[in-house]
Symmetry: C2
Subunit: 253 residues, 2 copies
């Protein structure tokens, strides 16, 4: 499934019109992103941006006492390094590879330049950023009001949506770090889901057996964010010489 790598596996890149895509393509560098890799550290000035294809990256805030909390998740639907074009150049959060895979790297200056052409790429990046904002907001809401079990469901579904497989490679310890809860809390919640036949957990391998079942247990936060991503990010190329996909169209103002 990842034998054939292409920048088009990233939805943002895939959504670019041909002219923009051709301009960037020569500069996109395929990189492998191993589990745990820190793409950038809190406060660090960005040199590159990343377009994940088969990997998933978490944005984490790490507190003074070492505790952490996930702020957002970025996979093949998005880009890492929005502070570059937003103008701040750094953020107080850390980006860590949560599910290993591949992605494409682009030099910061090139992205900035493309952004300032104020064309389709700018429009796309801003819409993506708005979707990301919704994800962050909803994370705040979920952290306030929902149980660990519901949050685990949400987290599993968000991850699943960004993978082509139904299996996650992820220890409970790591999930606990992402959610900002105890490892034991994850064990208990995952145990419930397992006994309910929704997932199968075994030493760092989670296999999702019943996705609809997860969706009935998850809180509204998952759906709110998913709906907003679907609304804001086109999942069909915007008129590029279509490879094999369906119709195109799908633009909006």
């Amino acid at each position: 499934m990842s034998i054939l790598n292409s920048p088009m596996q990233n939805h943002l890149l895939a959504a670019l019109p041909a002219a923009e895509y051709e301009r960037l393509a020569p500069h996109l560098e395929l990189v492998t992103m191993p589990l745990g890799q820190v793409l950038y550290e809190s406060g660090e000035r960005l040199q590159q941006v990343y377009f994940p294809t088969s990997s998933i990256v978490s944005l984490l805030y790490v507190m003074e006492d070492g505790a952490s909390a996930e702020i957002a998740v970025v996979g093949n639907e998005g880009i890492l390094g929005i502070s570059l074009f937003m103008g701040g150049n750094t953020t107080p959060s850390r980006a860590v590879v949560q599910s290993e895979g591949h992605g494409y790297r682009l030099q910061a200056q090139l992205l900035k330049h493309e952004f300032h052409r104020a064309g389709p790429m700018q429009r796309l990046l801003l819409r993506y950023t708005q979707a990301l904002i919704t994800q962050m907001s909803q994370t705040a809401v979920c952290n306030r009001h929902h149980s660990v079990e519901q949050q685990l469901c949400r987290w599993l579904l968000w991850s699943l949506d960004r993978l082509s497989s139904d299996e996650l490679i992820m220890t409970q310890e790591l999930i606990a770090n992402m959610l900002g809860v105890r490892r034991e809390g994850v064990t208990v919640a995952a145990g419930k889901l397992q006994r309910a036949g929704l997932i199968n957990y075994h030493r760092g391998h989670i296999k999702v057996l019943d996705r609809p079942g997860l969706e009935t247990r998850v809180c509204e936060c998952y759906h709110v964010v998913k709906t907003e991503f679907d609304r804001l990010i086109p999942d069909v190329p915007q008129g590029k010489p279509v490879h094999s996909l369906r119709t195109h169209g799908q633009s909006d103002g």
Copy 2:
């Protein structure tokens, strides 16, 4: 204190170069914003944007069961309606006036047009949006890890930073809605602060007696966000011919 109203009391407008400011000024409409007013509803397409001057507005998410949680706060440092230039036109959150006062309203089309000139206004709005993102992220972190008392301190300080007074008009019930906790929880936390001599609470009037004291009790979340706002948003006009308002400061921070 609000006898003399001027768009310059809003930091974003104040930071605009003269040319941009002059272009917008004729279209800025002074409005009073009473407590509880809903500037826009979840999913509603925006017709105007607002630049608060003496008012404070909360972005809230309201859940299906009616419970709510504050996502971010916007005062004289910012603007309401970022989804307009981000491209989504709507958001899943609601904007409610949390502290009554004034602000300036601008027709959506005019802001959009100014944004697409890709000049100083665009740069300013994007930087502000990044600051807002930090606020949302940190809200998520705070909701996860910190006690009601710490969150109350953060909330008081965030509000205080956006007012020129040391007194807030705000019932415990409303604060509870913002923080997404029980009213009694706020009562207990506020009671502690009051017994410690930091604030004085009386039927919807909170007077802050010892701001430094609050700052020692607040969690790091407050400081992270404040630092990021200070970094990203200029609080000094960028070389505009200063009008006539007293000193051109008045804006305070």
